[in-house]
């Protein structure tokens, strides 16, 4: 009975996670429609998230960590902010539906990194997924190219 309740609450959390992640894409499009500056949106996104996490860490007394954790996190955080900034800027020239997909397809990069750097085994599922990512990117590129071609 307790396990059933736990899995049920897990389903609710999963729906909330989907809605949270989706809100980033939808709000990014809305920000573009409202002529918001990409650099301002990016700044407020990271400022609000950082402040919330700092407050949580201070309240729960869990801010201490080895130096290596901090040094590791900073450059990857920089990369992520650069991605959001580039996406927000790119939205001026493209759709959110295809841009959001394109940015999410980059999930293949950590997989390739894990295979190259940590010699993770490339199983059939991963191989198929990486192949499908390439096909999807090619289709999106073709779609973008067709968009620029005048119809006869």
């Amino acid at each position: 009975m307790q396990a059933e309740v736990l899995v049920h609450s897990g389903n609710v959390y999963m729906v909330l996670a989907v809605l949270s992640f989706s809100s980033i894409g939808a709000v990014a499009k809305l920000a573009d429609l409202k002529n918001s500056r990409p650099s301002t949106i990016n700044l407020l996104l990271y400022l609000s998230s950082f402040l919330v996490l700092v407050v949580v860490a201070l309240v729960s007394h869990s801010a201490a960590s080895p130096q290596i954790v901090k040094l590791l996190a900073l450059p990857f955080g920089v990369c992520s902010a650069l991605a959001i900034l580039a996406l927000q800027t790119a939205l001026r020239y493209g759709n959110i539906s295809t841009s959001w997909l394109a940015i999410n397809l980059s999930a293949g990069i950590p997989t390739v990194g894990s295979i190259l750097l940590y010699h993770e085994r490339l199983n059939l599922r991963k191989s198929c997924a990486l192949l499908l990512i390439v096909v999807a990117l090619a289709l999106l590129w073709k779609d973008k190219k067709m968009e620029g071609t005048p119809s006869r």
């Binding site: 894409g25 650099s39 990016n42 996104l45 996490l53 990857f76 955080g77 997909l101 990486l130 289709l139």
Partner: protein
Amino acid sequence: MLVAFVTNGIGPFGLKVLTEKHLDRYESQYLIFWYLGGLLLALLAFGFRNLRFSRWEILLGTAMGFGSLGGQFFTGKALAAGIPGHIAFPITTGGSLFLVALAGILVFKERVGPYGLAGLVIGILSLIVLSLG
């Protein structure tokens, strides 16, 4: 979009490095500095040329921040509640892609050609397969 694609792919890889170095118990502390790194880049890009924020910018920028944190928080809670990773990750990734594509087409009235639609279907499928590992 190429910059967004490459940097967005590199961004989460730090968590893999953290795990490989057996430091994954510091994940929440890692996230603080991950967002701090993002904040530093954002401050640099902002440049302080125009310090006036519109009401929409404050509302939407903060909403995106909460969306980002909420997504990570609720995924973690779902996993902690016993939902296996091979179910949680495909649903959160595929679900958010589907909803954003749907919002783009139905709410924002975006026009997506046949190649784009095919790309969307194959792309969502590829990420579901990738999440299944």
